[in-house]
Symmetry: C2
Subunit: 178 residues, 2 copies
Amino acid sequence: MDIEEFVNKSVGEWRSMRSGHSLAFQQFEDVLSSIVIKKLPNTDQLLNDTLDKFKINSNCNLNSAFQMEWEAESDWEPESQDKVSSGSCILIPIPTNNKSGKLIRSMGYSEKVPTESQYNFLEDGTFVLSTKYDQSIAEERIWFVSENVRCRSSLIKTSAGSGILQTSFASEVRRIKI
Amino acid sequence: MDIEEFVNKSVGEWRSMRSGHSLAFQQFEDVLSSIVIKKLPNTDQLLNDTLDKFKINSNCNLNSAFQMEWEAESDWEPESQDKVSSGSCILIPIPTNNKSGKLIRSMGYSEKVPTESQYNFLEDGTFVLSTKYDQSIAEERIWFVSENVRCRSSLIKTSAGSGILQTSFASEVRRIKI
């Protein structure tokens, strides 16, 4: 598995079941959401804005740049059926080699700022992403369990590295290939 | 990471937050439970009964044999505070080499029968367990994210292998080392 294959396998419309675990308070949060992942042409304006922001030469290989959009419903407030979270971000993998590289995101996961993460692939194809923020470190893993089902786990720990603040796990089922 | 180190790191009393995802019905199940993992002396009667059942020579290396006990509360029936699940099983790793082997269990995970599973470790120390039952295949992954926090994901698929029936994820925090 390399990043181009991984992104190609990820393209489509997904239905996600996600459970968050707050370890200190032993609280669960269950969220259903829709996720759309689509590749971006090199000419995309947002892609080029993000490259500018990170001062990245747009001559580098951008074959795997993609956009992710999501729309979620949370159970924190079960009396409300309002959408509580939706958003979109641009993700630009910059491979160092077949197995690792960095990933630029127009918006981070743990903190809502542009981020630069490190990724690598384990021998079984699991994608592992690590992001350092000011206050925290986020680690994500994504692995395919069949063509149309993938799992995603994440954890957020204190930037000192020892305290695990929360974990989450999502089961994602692809409904439509794009 | 080898199996002996893995079992030594796992010994203790753990508090588990576990979320199950039923993919077809998009249902969540959140369960809090206590888990106790303790090593077994070679002379343990249940250990030797299990070895007999699988016709395993008790002269093989049994350093990593352990017992797991759990007691869970489920949210399927929120009006009831009764314990809905508790149990205990004996687990006997039989290493083939440093990175893989088989695991004998007095009771399986997906189906409540004695099972023989295959395990291996990924390069980052993740423990991966695969069990074939009559009607299903279960795959589990356990990885430590700090000394006292580990994550466990599982999925159950049809024995034909293509249909993913359910997934689950547990965040386990060790309260007491034994």
